[in-house]
Point group: C2
Chain length 371, copies 2
Amino acid sequence: MFKVGSKCGEARCGELYTRHGVIQTPIFMPVGTQATVKGMTPTQVEDVGAQIILGNTYHLNLRPGSKLVQEMGGLHRFMAWDKPILTDSGGFQVFSLSELRKVREDGIEFRSHLDGSPLFLGPESCYRIQAELGTDIAMVLDECPPFPCDRDACADAVKRTVRWAGEFLEHARTDGFLERGHHVFGIIQGSTFDDLRQECAADLAAMDFPGYAVGGVSVGEPEEEMLRQVATCAPVMPVDKPRYVMGVGTPPQLLKMIGMGMDMFDCVMPTRLARHANVFTLNGLINLKNERFKNDAAPIMEADNYTCRHFSRAYLRHLIMAKELLASTLLSLHNVHFYLELMAEARAHIEAGDYDQWSAAWIARYEAGDA
Amino acid sequence: MFKVGSKCGEARCGELYTRHGVIQTPIFMPVGTQATVKGMTPTQVEDVGAQIILGNTYHLNLRPGSKLVQEMGGLHRFMAWDKPILTDSGGFQVFSLSELRKVREDGIEFRSHLDGSPLFLGPESCYRIQAELGTDIAMVLDECPPFPCDRDACADAVKRTVRWAGEFLEHARTDGFLERGHHVFGIIQGSTFDDLRQECAADLAAMDFPGYAVGGVSVGEPEEEMLRQVATCAPVMPVDKPRYVMGVGTPPQLLKMIGMGMDMFDCVMPTRLARHANVFTLNGLINLKNERFKNDAAPIMEADNYTCRHFSRAYLRHLIMAKELLASTLLSLHNVHFYLELMAEARAHIEAGDYDQWSAAWIARYEAGDA
């Protein structure tokens, strides 16, 4: 169930009810690809304000396997995370990571990027894997076209995506998955073709999914094109359901998409950048390897997280230069907190009714980049 | 100041007072070589019961430099650790890590293992560096002979070690270091030569150090030889001062040395083994990579630490196989907790008066190794 609360222009606050609690939207979901948000304990993830994290069907199915996770009590118990989990369908990873993939009308043949073993993912197996993981929000199997792509190939991919979405939802319904309080979200594809995007969105909307996602963005297209695709989809996405943009983005991109009425986001950026010494500030990204931070006694920024409460830039730089594990932990913790704080502020400004002015000012300061 | 409390045979409990609080001995000191206990936040180190950690003069002097640490408020503030810190002298690292070292009568010339730059460490500079770090317990500069070593060369090394110890202590006294509540420990060298060990111990005892260490063990000699050296030194180490065995050891070795009247230990073993998937149990070490743990829903052992309270062996094995950073953190946390719990139990059994029986039974179970 999803309740829309305050609105401010297209931006809105909402509450999404799951088997593991209520999620306040707009929200960012830290990525826990392999049953761990990289470098952070579940307690640290919770402490920085995460309400929901993302798990990865493709990776978890290859290793350790969804059957094993089920045998261990499900993904929540396995990784000691008692709040909501969304699992992506694996469609994106099949296209970006695996080898020798072959799209059939009933699913996708591919080879594992770990050991080359032949695998098949269809709407039913994709549903079963996510059901075995015990996810709160399952994503349908989709076909994610590359950028750029041929229009005819894209139209075929959209047809399959819509058909697979229907089959996936049918399996979930038959199995009592929705009745037990799990959600299934449909995924809108269509690459850069506005009419294909809108047809796909309309076809999915007719199936009455508990939520809808914009997929196939952030696959190499320019930023304006990405934002344009989200803007294209927004008017044809049901207003009473959560709207999720998959795999994005930078802080300004998130604020812009919230302004278009989007509710949920996930991205590896905060943790991946952290592992490469990059940290977010209100004035843009900084790279702590820089010599100028060598004796900088200030924290990354004035933020109420463990890293900024305890450690100077000089210390963090030392950990990075000494290749200490703790660097990844402390920087990831800060970056994830930064994203979650940004979402909390966005919610507050939607409720206060000044979202557009606030977000424009926030973006201007961030992009001035005098960090 | 050091107060000896309960005794049980040679084993004893004690309280060592420092500028950052009281340490209950016998105690294990987790190693924080580069201003971090590898893979753990200071909060995690504190949560598993650490009372004091070790920092490394050699490493911290090379990177980030003791002057920088001083400028950042000292090592405690730099690394956000508000409990006691002991820093080793760097003597051991000069002999084990650096290149082209040349022992002079006034100190050691060597080249950095990081960039080959020429450096010199003498009793005064060794004191200055540790004073700049702001350590609670400084270790004198010593010359650590290899194993095996020539008797004449060892005798010369012992002479220099004793002279440097006196000079180090003099610099510390002149500087008011002891008056301000910092400690300086002397280091007994002498390799496997009992008379040299005992002469060295007696010469150092005459200087009235606040504490004494057995150095130059665990440098490649057989375990029996190591234990024999500690037994050789024990009777000539002042009973009213803390006794520290440097760089050791396995849990049974620690229990045996406590039985000889030793009070303090440090070792990289718990964190280094953790990074190679090895964890301690009451029945010996286990390697979590082993296939038999694949679907093992039990914790590593029944222990009251974050890792064992929340995670199964199956999950930890998954993290290891997936090369996730969190594996090092969770395994290190368990292993360090294991060592600290062992010390807490040892203290309890010394107080209860059954230390020898308890430690013999503990060692027998551990070495039966049916983990």
